[in-house]
């Protein structure tokens, strides 16, 4: 009896010991060498893994900075702060240029304002809908409204408003550009963070055509150019655009725009 107990004790003990030794040995062979700075850089990065830098997540970017000499200013959510901190870790001076950008949806068309060419019943996804005749709206340029951008936004900056159009909260937006990549119509564009006014239309159709299918579409009437000459307005291809380098007032244009598609983002609806 007692020898069975001894055998049990010994066999499990020796087996465990041997396996432990083997594992300790294997750990030596398979040790993953990691540069300590990778962890430091990773700690500085915002760790939201948005992919704006073009690398797979923040840890991927941190590795690329150390191992592949990647540019240290690619983290748009972190901005200048993060770039300077990375520079400190790497021991180099990083100069950050360019101002903070945010994405904005340049369309305010809803079911009420824009006519449809058919009734869409299918997968709740803008790209799926776009593959069916360019979406259910007659306007092929505008927001399709199914919110594929909402799904990809890593910081939940995009919301569907009670009026039925999508809006981007510029204080939450980190300019990662994922919404721009996923949007099939290209209605999402980057604007400077400080920009107050946008031309909320993406249609380059002629005024008469736009008027027929959308009540909030730009008809290219050039009233904005005339009323706010300092505002940087430019009508090209029947669509107004704003040069945000122009510092002049744009309030007049917001006031007179006949389609009310030039909107002041700070004056919420």
């Amino acid at each position: 009896m007692i020898d069975r107990v001894l055998y049990a004790f010994l066999s499990v003990g020796i087996l465990g010991g041997l396996l432990g030794l083997a594992l300790a040995f294997a750990a030596r062979i398979f040790a993953v060498k990691k540069d300590k700075r990778i962890e430091e850089v990773e700690g500085v990065l915002p760790s939201i893994n948005c992919g704006a830098c073009g690398y797979p997540g923040c840890s991927g970017y941190a590795e690329a900075i150390i191992n592949e000499d990647a540019d240290m200013t690619l983290c748009s959510p972190g901005g200048a702060d993060v770039a300077t901190k990375i520079g400190e870790i790497m021991g180099v001076e990083v100069s950050v240029s360019g101002e903070k950008l945010v994405a904005q949806i340049h369309c305010r068309g809803t079911n009420e304002t824009s006519l449809k060419k058919y009734e869409y019943k299918g997968i709740e996804d803008c790209n799926a809908m776009h593959s069916a005749f360019g979406g259910d709206k007659i306007c092929p340029y505008g927001c399709l409204g199914l919110g594929s951008c909402i799904k990809v936004c890593p910081v939940d900056a995009i919301v569907k408003t009670e009026y039925g159009y999508l809006d981007i909260d510029k204080d939450k937006c980190i300019a990662c550009g994922k919404c721009i990549d996923v949007c099939p119509t290209g209605v999402i564009k980057m604007i400077p963070y400080r920009a107050r006014e946008i031309v909320a239309c993406n249609s380059t159709d002629k005024g008469g055509a736009v008027r027929k299918y959308c009540s909030v579409g730009c008809i290219g009437c050039k009233m904005c150019e005339k009323k706010s000459p300092e505002g940087g307005f430019k009508v090209d291809n029947f669509l107004a655009s704003i040069d945000y380098n122009a510092e002049g007032s744009r309030a007049e244009a917001v006031e007179v725009c006949p389609a009310k598609c030039i909107i002041d983002l700070d004056v919420a609806d």
């Binding site: 087996l15 432990g20 083997a22 594992l23 294997a26 750990a27």
Partner: protein, 196 residues
């Protein structure tokens, strides 16, 4: 029993997941996309085949001669845990992205009852060393087959409209149940017809 018979038995007739319902944790947890599912499948196949061989050795060289078979479970688990640890180190070194994709499910292979299952089943079936090894590979391939089928279905399900209460794991279980029903079609009669 021939090796082909063992393979058909463990891949189709006694498929560990869809017939014996062993190792459902990674089957549900890692079947969200094909790439990590295949990675998991091969990791489990590797662990199962080596585990079957190693536990055969433990059974026949340690437990039986010393007449201490009652230690089967603890020694087998010890062996499997060490193997999984080894696989984990190997994957971390060779493929960091697969390591990340598998996440917590990699160390959880340790407690995957399918691995202990093949060890115990091989011992109870009185297989010799090579038969145990083949049974381990076949059971692993059965696992790979099931998780691969499941992950391709789940990737398709992602794009479909599913009632809110069923989204995610519930629909995965229902899908798994239907697949298990389909696997009922494989039985001993089929095996006998195939290899006589």
């Amino acid at each position: 029993m021939t090796y082909i018979g063992i393979i058909i038995t463990f891949v189709f007739i006694n498929n560990f997941i869809l017939t014996q319902f062993l190792g459902l944790c990674p089957f549900i947890g890692v079947s969200k996309n094909v790439e990590s599912a295949v990675g998991m499948g091969f990791a489990v196949t590797f662990v199962m085949s080596i585990a079957a061989l190693a536990t055969w050795a433990i059974q026949n060289f340690i437990l039986v001669p010393l007449n201490i078979e009652f230690l089967q479970t603890i020694t087998f688990i010890l062996m499997i845990a060490a193997l999984v640890q080894f696989v984990e180190m190997f994957i971390q070194k060779s493929s960091p992205s697969l390591y990340k994709a598998l996440g917590i499910y990699l160390p959880l292979i340790t407690t995957n009852c399918a691995v202990l299952g093949i060890a115990l089943i091989a011992v109870r079936s009185n297989y010799n060393a090579i038969e145990s090894f083949v049974a381990g590979i076949a059971a692993g391939l059965g696992f790979l087959l099931a998780i691969l089928l499941m992950s391709t279905i789940r990737e398709k399900l992602d794009a479909e409209w599913i009632p809110a209460p069923l989204r995610g794991t519930p629909i995965a279980f229902i899908t798994g149940g239907l697949m298990a029903l389909a696997f009922m079609a494989f039985d001993k009669t089929l095996l006998n017809n195939l290899i006589g």
